[in-house]
């Protein structure tokens, strides 16, 4: 069948459609120079943060690992990253505030534009806002503080809760896990630290928003979430950046520990501008009867390589990854999931959906592993790709390593192309070509979007519409 004539109309320069591309004039309090990552830079970051010696040692060791490890040869094209040009640390204000009024005006205005204080008032239990390398604002509802919940900038947590910090930091994702986890371990700054005490359920989500503002910025936040026995928490992260002609790098590490009977949901609505390399390592350990749920929505960036992982460590643990990727022109979303069944009677589910438009490229890359000795395993993997035109591309790389026989594993994959007939059908009912294509895309994404809290679902629907119409809302 011929390529629908919608193709020409739909392929548009998406840079103009991105409504978060505004820049804020901000004078950094401190920033590390360009010219490549050195021992001096790592030492400067650590000293600026007045860190304990063990953390400096950890960083320096990670730097060595980073320097030794080769760039990954798989995934997306990383050849455009220029490590010489990146600012590895940029401090926009002296220290994090707990009152928006204390945040410098230019930064506060940025977050006002992004709707963060409003969201905080309406439907959040706690809010963090990171600007460049530092969390500039952090707050948590008082009742939760009283119950012993900790929601802090990771830097603050290192100072305030040194024991628990040292016990868990770097245990789920060691520095040597991959080149970019090593980089993050060497220069990490900001991110969220969450501790939920035994039996405490946080009803409303905690949210952190990550904003890159400067050109050639490297943002390396580090998030650590510990849900103690029988507790539950839903953490949401959002991220955007201005559009520059040069590239920025976002490389986070997120470690999560879900203890016996606890539940953690980690929701991402990633919408970086198309000059950002987004290379993130995310992993959770789930223990007896615990549940981990990654809900990962990736719209923006130049290249995203991200495969949220769940290691099911003890019997009864359950892991689920649901993801949605939208690859528009000049974008490559290389995303997926990784599940490792390390114990018997564990279950997992992966639902991955991708949409490619205007020569955009999406890849599903997944690993499902059942370790020796893990019996009675159930897993269900489904990947669906939707191509909006003939120029777009989708690939699926599902890897399975099954070392046991008592397993029930189902795997489904579909690739569909928006067809001329389907568009014609909807148009015959009175929808324009764009409205018809938009309906099909929204319908395709709906099973993922309906998992989001209402406010985020509305936002995501709006973002998808923007991607589809090419008009600024």
């Amino acid at each position: 069948m011929a390529v629908p004539k919608s193709t020409q109309k739909l392929i548009k320069n998406t840079l103009d459609d991105y409504k978060f591309g505004f820049k804020t004039k901000n004078t950094a309090v401190f920033k590390t120079p360009q010219g490549g990552l050195t021992r001096e830079i790592v030492e400067a970051i650590s000293s600026r943060k007045k860190e304990p010696k063990w953390m400096l040692d950890y960083r320096l060791k990670a730097l060595e690992i980073f320097e030794k490890k080769a760039m990954p040869k798989w995934g997306g094209d990383l050849s455009g990253i220029n490590f010489e040009k990146i600012h590895y640390y940029l401090q926009p204000q002296d220290k994090p505030k707990t009152d928006w009024n204390d945040v410098p005006k230019d930064i506060k205005d940025t977050f006002e534009k992004l709707g963060i204080p409003e969201a905080e008032r309406k439907f959040l239990a706690g809010t963090g806002a990171q600007f460049e390398s530092e969390m500039v604002y952090h707050s948590l509802q008082k009742e939760l503080t009283k119950k012993g919940v900790v929601f802090e900038s990771t830097d603050v947590a290192l100072q305030k809760y040194p024991e628990i910090f040292k016990e868990y930091f770097g245990k789920v994702i060691p520095a040597h896990d991959n080149k970019f986890s090593a980089l993050n371990s060497a220069v990490w700054s900001g991110g969220s630290f969450i501790y939920v005490p035994k039996g405490v359920h946080i009803e409303l989500p905690l949210q952190a928003y990550f904003r890159i503002n400067a050109e050639n910025m490297g943002q390396f936040e580090r998030t650590l979430i510990i849900a103690d026995e029988g507790s539950s928490v839903h953490y949401v992260e959002g991220c955007t950046a201005p559009t520059y002609s040069t590239d920025s790098l976002h490389s986070a590490v997120v470690e999560i520990i879900v203890k016996k009977g606890a539940r953690v949901q980690y929701t991402t609505i990633q919408n970086w501008s198309t000059n950002v390399y987004n290379l993130v390592t995310k992993r959770a350990f789930a223990y007896r009867d615990a549940e981990m749920f990654w809900l990962d929505c990736n719209l923006g960036s130049k290249l995203t390589m991200k495969y949220p992982a769940i290691f099911l460590m003890e019997p009864g643990a359950r892991g689920e990854v649901q993801s949605l990727a939208f690859a528009n022109s000049n974008q490559h979303q290389d995303a997926g999931a990784k599940i490792v069944h390390n114990a018997s009677n564990t279950t997992s589910k992966i639902v991955a959906k991708s949409i490619s438009k205007g020569a955009g490229r999406s890849t599903y890359r997944g690993l499902l592993k059942v370790s020796k000795g893990a019996k009675n395993i159930k897993s269900h993997v489904s990947c669906d790709a939707l191509l909006l035109d003939g120029a777009s591309r989708s690939d699926t790389y599902p890897t399975m390593k099954i070392e046991e026989s008592e397993v029930a594993i189902a795997h489904e994959a579909t690739v569909s192309k928006i067809g001329e007939e389907q568009l014609f059908y909807l148009m015959s009912r009175g929808l324009t070509e764009e409205e018809a294509a938009s309906s099909i895309v929204n319908g395709f994404a709906k099973p993922i979007i309906k998992q989001l809290p209402m406010e985020y679902a509305l936002e995501l629907n709006r973002l998808l519409e923007l991607e589809m119409t090419g008009s600024v809302g």
């Binding site: 069948m1 011929a2 629908p4 004539k5 001329e420 007939e421 389907q422 014609f424 059908y425 909807l426 148009m427 015959s428 009912r429 009175g430 929808l431 324009t432 070509e433 409205e435 309906s439 099909i440 929204n442 319908g443 395709f444 994404a445 709906k446 099973p447």
Partner: protein, 258 residues
């Protein structure tokens, strides 16, 4: 029945190709509101193509002729513009749209049509639901279909009934129904026919039925019956013509024409 001025679709000397293949070779046909036309003919005679060309399917190229709706040329309009003028096509094979609920979709289509026709008022879900439920009741469709994705997992018969629900909701002026009777058992056929008859009585629309079989015309009485072959209408008559075809098959008529 609506006694206002009649809406007219006037097709003159219409020729259309798919690729290099000529399918329509000069169709002349006028359909007015309040009339029921049936087009019959052997496979490959161009019946479905005629509907698709009139609705604006991009696969076909019109090489000659015109189709005017109330005097306005429609062949250069987008399908959605034709829909907003009052044309409707009931598909032989309705398409599935995953994740888009039937109720939401129909309200969107209805409101887009209202807007395109200069209405400032939009129908709210509260106003729309009772109308949709009533219409579905007429077609004996369970209300659960309202929340299900458009045509997804519907049986053949359910899809056809849903097409008539869509027609009744969108209230077109001229509806083309492409083999709406194919794949229906006798009970479903009666239900679909009743839905068409009810909508006809209520709105006085014009109907163009495409069918292979006379049996549909036992339930819907056509004012005109046309026989199509090789991209042309070769004979027109009243409902008796359909009976004749049923008895003698197409061969005889085709011979006579040659």
């Amino acid at each position: 029945m609506n006694i206002k001025k009649k809406d007219t679709l006037e097709i003159k000397d219409l020729h259309a190709n798919i690729g290099d293949l000529k399918i329509l070779n000069g169709i002349n046909l006028t359909i007015k509101s309040g009339e029921i036309h049936a087009i019959m003919g052997p496979n490959g005679s161009g019946k479905s193509t005629l509907c698709n060309v009139l609705m604006g399917h991009p696969k076909y190229e019109v090489t000659k002729g015109s189709a005017k709706f109330n005097g306005k040329e429609i062949l250069d309009l987008e399908p959605n513009e034709r829909a907003h003028l009052g044309l409707f096509l009931g598909f032989q094979h309705p398409l599935e749209v995953s994740g888009v609920s039937t109720g939401t979709f129909l309200r969107l289509a209805k409101n887009l049509k209202l807007k395109a026709n200069g209405e400032t008022k939009q129908i709210s879900p509260m106003e729309f639901m009772p109308i949709l439920k009533q219409t579905m009741g007429l077609l004996k469709m369970d209300e659960k279909f309202i929340t299900r994705s458009v045509n997804e997992g519907f049986s053949g018969g359910e899809k056809k009934r849903a097409e008539i629900v869509q027609m009744a909701i969108l209230e077109p002026k001229i509806a083309m129904l492409d083999e709406i009777d194919s794949g229906l058992d006798i009970d479903a056929l009666k239900i679909v026919a009743e839905g068409i008859n009810e909508t006809f009585k209520k709105t006085g629309l014009g109907v163009l039925l495409i069918t292979h079989y006379q049996r549909l015309l036992n339930y819907i009485t056509p004012d005109f019956v046309h026989v199509m072959a090789k991209g042309k209408i070769i004979k027109s008559g009243d409902k008796k013509l359909a009976k004749e075809l049923e008895k003698n098959g197409y061969e005889e008529i085709l011979k006579k024409v040659k």
